[in-house]
């Protein structure tokens, strides 16, 4: 009458020991990036291709965004494919390699020396990505369950590898000049494969599972997800073709249109999930995650303006480009991480601390393991800091830059505070 699932109740939970180092590293890197943002505020608003901007961007993209996503993926992919993670050893290797490579690469950007530390750092990061890709790929192959979400994660990881390979080529090109143009000319290719191929594809793949799940919504539409997957990948491939063949700028409207359609479909998907939720009260973490979905539209709007201005004036609007990068890394990527950290990490800690007590004693709920008040202040400082920074850059109001970056530093501090509170949680029986 009720057919049991394949392995019945066998474990698909990845050990917290694999996942937590990624979360801790990312939290510290977020704090470091915002600290440097405070220290180098004036420098980073001068041009996007300068040492501190490159360093802070990579701290955010690799140290913050990528590390937390790698950690969370080791936990989530086995759940999505109803299987086990292929190898904890590869996951540890991935962490150690990336955790070593990222500071070396960032040091290279800070000192603007693309010599051995940056080169070696880039190579370590690529090896870390290959370990992750192998681990996820073999886990998916070994599983009998087909999951569109897992395919999103795997494809995004392939784009990440390609992004990192191009990044390493650009570093070597600084020293040996073997590419036809200067490295700065290839920056849009490297950046957009990373942003759309890695972050966008992955966040949509995982978000389309987590957002309805945490809203306790029964909404699911796999065919829309396949459409989104196809649109974004088609957009990326079209972008590469146009970029490498130096086609006219007007052609960039094709990938923008394809990717925008994918993002809008994802926004509709989340909206349907929200409308069909069973629990009417939406918690603060989910509100932040849903805000991140709305914020995904901002970079697209900025990009359209950048291209329009390029077509009209034939010159780059530096402030708009800086704001564009900011709304990506300090905007939707940070917003979704702020929200989802406090949906996923409490479960990991709860499982670590209370799993063996479940059913024997009354235990706190995962949401009780961190401070809701600190989360609320973190959210407010983030939204205020983000909005002020964007206004300061776009409207050229330098005196509000410092308050903006201080608010972001407060956000990072409060985030770390709550992460630490979770990590240090001791069992409490009610």
């Amino acid at each position: 009458m009720f057919p049991p699932i394949g392995n019945n109740t066998s474990s698909t939970t990845t050990s917290y020991k694999v996942v937590l180092p990624f979360y801790i590293y990312a939290a510290l890197m977020f704090l470091s990036a915002t600290t440097f943002l405070v220290l180098k505020t004036n420098d980073i608003t001068k041009h996007y291709f300068q040492p501190y901007t490159l360093a802070i961007t990579h701290m955010m993209a690799l140290g913050w965004g990528t590390m937390i996503i790698l950690g969370a993926s080791h936990q989530l992919v086995p759940v999505l494919i109803e299987g086990r993670l292929f190898s904890n050893g590869l996951a540890y290797a991935s962490f150690v390699l990336a955790a070593t490579g990222i500071p070396m690469l960032i040091y290279g950007f800070f000192s603007f020396d693309m010599g051995w530390p940056a080169q070696c750092g880039g190579e370590l990061i690529i090896t870390a990505i290959i370990c992750f890709l192998m681990n996820i790929g073999i886990s998916i192959i070994k599983s009998k369950t087909e999951s569109v979400h897992a395919i999103f994660v795997f494809t995004a990881s392939v784009w990440l590898l390609l992004t990192a390979l191009i990044g390493l080529l650009l570093i070597y090109n600084f020293q040996y000049h073997f590419l036809p143009d200067d490295s700065i000319e290839y920056l849009p290719l490297h950046a957009h494969l990373g942003v759309a191929g890695w972050f966008l594809l992955l966040i949509i793949g995982v978000g389309s599972r987590l957002i309805p799940m945490f809203l306790i919504s029964k909404y699911s539409n796999v065919s829309i997800l396949w459409w989104i997957y196809s649109l974004i990948n088609a957009g990326l491939i079209t972008f590469i073709i146009i970029f490498l063949n130096n086609l006219r700028r007007q052609f960039f409207s094709i990938p923008i249109l394809l990717i925008t359609t994918g993002v809008l479909l994802f926004a509709c998907y989340c909206y349907r999930g929200y409308k069909e939720r069973i629990r009417k009260k939406v918690d603060e973490q989910m509100k932040m995650s849903l805000l991140a979905v709305i914020m995904m539209i901002l970079p697209i709007i900025f990009l359209v303006f950048i291209i329009l201005l390029l077509l009209i004036t034939s010159s780059e609007n530096i402030n708009l480009i800086i704001a564009y990068g900011f709304v990506i890394f300090f905007g939707w990527i940070t917003a979704i991480i702020l929200g989802m950290t406090f949906k996923t990490l409490p479960f990991i800690i709860w499982n670590k601390v209370y799993h063996h007590l479940a059913g024997k004693h009354k235990t706190p709920n995962p949401k009780d393991l961190f401070s809701a008040g600190v989360f609320k202040w973190m959210s407010l400082s983030f939204i205020a800091g983000f909005a002020l920074f964007v206004c300061a850059v776009l409207l050229k109001i330098p005196f509000i830059l410092k308050p903006a970056v201080f608010l972001l530093l407060i956000t990072a501090f409060l985030y770390n505070w709550n992460v630490l509170k979770l990590l240090l949680h001791k069992p409490v029986l009610l």
């Binding site: 009458m1 009720f2 057919p3 049991p4 699932i5 019945n8 109740t9 474990s11 698909t12 939970t13 936990q75 759940v79 999505l80 109803e82 599972r209 799940m213 945490f214 306790i216 029964k218 069973i278 629990r279 009417k280 009260k281 996923t344 479960f347 709860w350 499982n351 209370y354 799993h355 479940a358 059913g359 024997k360 009354k362 235990t363 709920n365 995962p366």
Partner: protein, 107 residues
């Protein structure tokens, strides 16, 4: 709440025990949430079969919930071997939530 059973009396005791198992995300017990489908007592084999589901197939707390269900059933019926059959066919639907559960969730 709609639980199929071959023994109403002992099933009441089992459900009372399962009331202590919470879905930590929702904060509601798994009985009122409607996660329990079937409870069967196999007296010759001394086995207690509990067929249950989760609110989602990808529930991160799934293992904790099923382990806790097994634990409380074992405590209630120590002489029986408890076997948890996890199923997603049929999938959980919110109309399985009891009236108490609906009140708790403000549905």
């Amino acid at each position: 709440m709609n639980v199929t059973t071959n023994d109403n009396l002992r099933s009441t005791i089992a459900l009372a025990a399962l009331h202590n198992v919470m879905d930590p995300e929702i904060g509601l017990n798994i009985v009122d949430l409607g996660l329990i489908y079937q409870l069967d007592f196999d007296d010759p084999g001394m086995k207690l079969y509990c067929t249950m589901t989760l609110t989602t197939q990808f529930c991160p707390m799934g293992e904790s919930i099923t382990d806790a269900a097994k634990e409380v059933l074992h405590d209630a019926f120590p002489e029986y071997e408890t076997i948890i059959n996890l199923t997603f066919d049929p999938p959980w639907r919110h109309d399985r939530i009891s009236e108490e559960g609906k009140n708790f969730l403000n549905l």
